[in-house]
Subunit: 589 residues, 2 copies
């Protein structure tokens, strides 16, 4: 090695040693001819000092150093005087008196300093990712990512899981998201697809008897990206044979407990809370509730059927619902402008046509519409809402799905705005029993809620004909702080049930055979009951890091336009490459 | 869990227990109405017995079971009588007397039985990979792969390496092999490329100060495949900062020693043997020598300049070489037909126009051409070859590169054919100091021997102008049993030297900027000296498994035509998908 020590390990006990350090010039100060440099590497910083008395050559060279130059220094570990000791640095009790210097490379002036507090815009950071990655925040994220990954691998290894790689060059089985395609050179007109998940292959591994499979797998979805999505993302992909739902859930809970203990030093209370999809939708309006705070949705439809407020009355009359939130103790906090503009605007994004609100004052409702509710109605509402003087009551009256979505968003907004939780809390829970299918209004057909390999509850199979929306699947999501952190299910291992599901989804036997034939064929040759789950690694790193930008936990992320600003991907290619691949451009201009 | 025990864990001490087992029907025997089934899972086999006296229902069901059905049995662990004990099975002292049976799924008759010794052709095995993967040989490979992977991850973690993911959707920087391309939907006319290796990104991580990086990375090369290549393959990718060559070599040697100890139970002698590229080519004719046996190449050019055998004389006269092998003690083994047809044919594949041979008999050469060598010449040849009576001497006279390639192939063939080594041996060594560049006759230009980021030896830089072929790179390959198991180098961290290399390779500054601009830019902002290596994981699994087919150590491999016979990838896709991606087919029919 070109160094005897790294920049984080020298202590007072090393005083007198001749050492060799390598690293980056983090900061440079010249105090009356004595040059002080904080030399930085991944392990820490050490102050190295160039004194004129060490000889003019090394001193002159030392004075020419600038930020981000990469150097090697040879010198002696010397103690600092008491007044110079820096208790904030673990190496703060010593200096290196430099006797020799080697400059490995000079740096151009970087577009921003890695130690800046004044971050430039994200585009510049992504373009100069090699500078950005030197920042402590990103280094911490990479260390944490390594740690969570390593813990997961160790955990699953100890539990008897086999780490098995599945192909990246696979077959297009479009479902939900768009596939990324890869033209084949050898097979003219044919394409590979990058996997949206290893789903089919991991099920085949169960059919092949591997019993417990794990893979930290790259997955790909060619979607228009939301802020917390990436075109390629990493999931911890798990599948188990001869299991029931509780076996999978407790296996994953063990991992979360390990992560929590090793990263946060706290014990995760197990088993994790579990709520059904129906419960989650009813109480929080979403299947990804943020459980760091209460403030559940409360229905008052039955209390307002006879009120004189037309909006409520009509909505209830036409099959809609009136649901609301009791925002405790903030009756005076929000101005009419905030309520009528900002909050109404927010619920409007989810299709709600309005936001009704009251303040509880002296045991009565107060607001511009309070007059439409008689005393008895007001008492009933206050009682139902567990209202107390000073509370703010907010309502959305609309179609059931709109009230859910709008109030869920409003609840999240208020939780954040009113600091109803400690941002360092992690509230993790399972949401169970998702519907097997949901009705797609646009296409006039049933869609799989999770995917088409989820096993329905046996006792619900009677609804296949009569009321498919009522069939619950043996599926489960892990939610944390309003994010979906994992998703899984017990799979179908019986080809007859699989056929029933395909029929329901209006997938013909021919189409099924074309798209999933190899899995269906495998199921015919001895399939065990099996189930699994996939955890979003990027997201869990983000949650444990307590960051709110997924790109800060990925070494080389892509923008929301799926570009890598560092390498400039995607880019035009040589026309010869396209000819080799038997394709040509079809650009609409 | 649906089982209380797996199929590999019950012992005599469990007799009397009520247990629940799940698995596949491995074999079925009916002895006078008593049904014996070997129930199989990943962990082993246990014999389960259906007796008529347990009640007719379960017995009748038991009799209907067939190979590969998946079942659950409940019953009691009973001891076998002494004469029925099977000492070859760890569970061979007990049976399960079945009281209840549940059939999870019936299997169609599989195209071949997982326990068959009579393997069908590989195409059928790949198509029915879910059956093939049940075979013990493939299960062993998957277990071994898991183990080697886990050991590597643990080793690098302990050594302070960070596991960092680099992108799969990257930028096309064609070099050597063809890139797999991925059309971008969002950016019309632009393409991602799948990485041939994470080379540029791992160098950037060094520039960013990550110091020690490791990743078990999928890499992609769109090449016409040789038998031991796959279009997607896995490498253990390593990079270190502030290191010299020996630091990288000994780090990797530590991993190999760990693997050897944990898999084979033996100590690997360290440091590993090291030979230069020049030495390897001279002594073995290849940079991938099989060092399990000696039989080095020996040159006799200087001894035959005046002989009367025209072929030798002319070749030497025109700058060629005469080199040969002494195949000890097999002077009588090969017939003239084998020598003149088979072996001559083999060297012919490498461009050799002929194969000359002699037998050493009574201290003289014997063969149809022996008469062209006088006594003195014969003695000199025998002495140089360390010939003894009964030896077979084989020669190729040709251009130097042809003699190397032809004799290397012949040497490998003879080593195998004559069983000159124990096939369980692993002979691992480093080959060092590859040439930086080699001359490309076809294109009339210099090509990078490894890749264009390898650091040249400082003392060889004088040859940049005068004799570039003499410049040695700080590059190194790890070879094992004739395979390249790893490849790496100390990289260029100085943009001036990088420019010199680009100039030599006739890559213009504009082209360099277009292809590798982001790495070159990174090098300008403070790059540490760094180097690394990539190990071919698939190949090491194959070597440690002592298999000779790389597809047997990959769960879902592709054929030499880059097809996945299981899923049918690549395949045609919906025209709408192509329109979305702004491409169309350009099939030449």
């Amino acid at each position: 090695m070109l160094r005897s020590h790294n920049c984080g390990e020298l202590r007072k006990s090393d005083v007198g040693q001749a050492v060799q350090l390598c690293g980056w010039v983090d900061s440079y100060r010249d105090h009356g001819g004595v040059v002080f440099i904080d030399l930085r590497d991944r392990y820490g910083k050490t102050q190295v000092v160039f004194r004129p008395e060490e000889g003019s050559e090394v001193h002159v060279e030392g004075r020419q150093l600038r930020s981000e130059d990469v150097i090697q220094v040879m010198g002696e570990v010397v103690p600092r005087t008491d007044k110079d000791i820096n208790p904030k640095m673990v190496t703060g009790e010593i200096d290196i008196r430099v006797q020799e210097l080697k400059v490995f490379s000079k740096s151009k002036t970087p577009p921003f300093e890695p130690r800046t507090q004044d971050l430039p815009n994200e585009e510049l950071r992504l373009k100069y990712r090699f500078v950005d990655l030197r920042r402590e925040e990103l280094q911490k994220a990479m260390f944490l990512r390594h740690k969570l990954t390593k813990l997961a691998r160790d955990y699953f290894d100890e539990q008897g899981f086999l780490d098995i790689e599945t192909p990246i060059l696979g077959r297009s089985t479009p479902e939900g998201a768009r596939d990324y395609l890869v033209p084949s050179r050898v097979h003219e007109g044919a394409f590979y697809a990058l996997p949206q998940s290893p789903q089919l292959f991991k099920q085949i591994l169960m059919v092949s008897g591997y019993d417990r499979y794990v893979q930290i797998a790259k997955c790909f979805r060619d979607e228009d990206l939301r802020a917390d999505r990436q075109p390629e993302f990493t999931q911890i992909d798990v599948e188990m044979s001869f299991v029931e739902q509780d076996d999978v859930l407790s296996m994953i809970e063990g991992l979360l407990a390990l992560w929590t203990k090793e990263v946060r030093g706290t014990e995760l209370q197990l088993p994790l809370p579990r709520l059904t999809y129906a419960d989650a939708m009813e109480r929080f309006g979403t299947d990804k509730p943020d459980l760091r705070f209460d403030m559940e949705l409360i229905e008052i439809s039955d209390l307002v059927t006879d009120c004189e407020f037309g909006v409520f009355k009509n909505v209830v009359g036409s099959g809609g619902r009136v649901r609301g939130l009791n925002v405790k103790g903030v009756g005076d906090r929000y101005s009419r402008r905030v309520l009528d503009n900002d909050m109404k605007g927010l619920v409007g994004e989810y299709g709600a046509k309005g936001l009704a609100y009251f303040k509880v004052v002296g045991g009565k409702l107060e607001s511009s519409i309070a007059k439409f509710f008689n005393d008895e109605q007001q008492q009933a509402i206050i009682e139902r809402m567990q209202g107390e003087d000073g509370d703010l009551l907010l309502y959305v009256a609309d179609q059931p799905s709109v009230t859910s979505a709008a109030l869920a968003a409003l609840r999240n907004h208020l939780g954040r705005d009113l600091e109803l939780y400690n941002p360092e809390d992690m509230a993790i829970a399972w949401v169970l029993e998702f519907p097997l299918v949901t009705w797609n209004e646009d296409e006039n057909r049933w869609n799989a809620e999770h995917h088409m390999f989820c096993n329905p509850f046996e006792e619900d199979t009677e609804y296949f004909e009569s009321d498919p929306g009522k069939i619950r699947a043996r599926s489960y999501d892990l939610v944390c702080n309003g994010y979906e952190g994992a998703s899984g299910s017990i799979r179908i291992h019986d080809t007859k049930i699989q056929q029933q599901v395909f029929d329901l989804l209006a997938i013909s036997p021919e189409e099924a055979e074309e798209r999933f034939g190899f899995l269906l064929e495998a199921l015919r040759y001895g399939a065990p009951p099996h189930g699994g789950v996939a955890l979003g690694l990027d997201r869990w790193v983000m949650l444990f890091a307590m960051y709110d930008n997924i790109r800060d936990v990925i070494a080389f992320p892509k923008t929301q336009k799926a570009s890598d600003l560092l390498s400039g991907a995607p880019a035009e290619v040589d026309p010869k490459q396209l000819r080799d691949l038997n394709i040509k451009l079809d650009v609409k201009k």
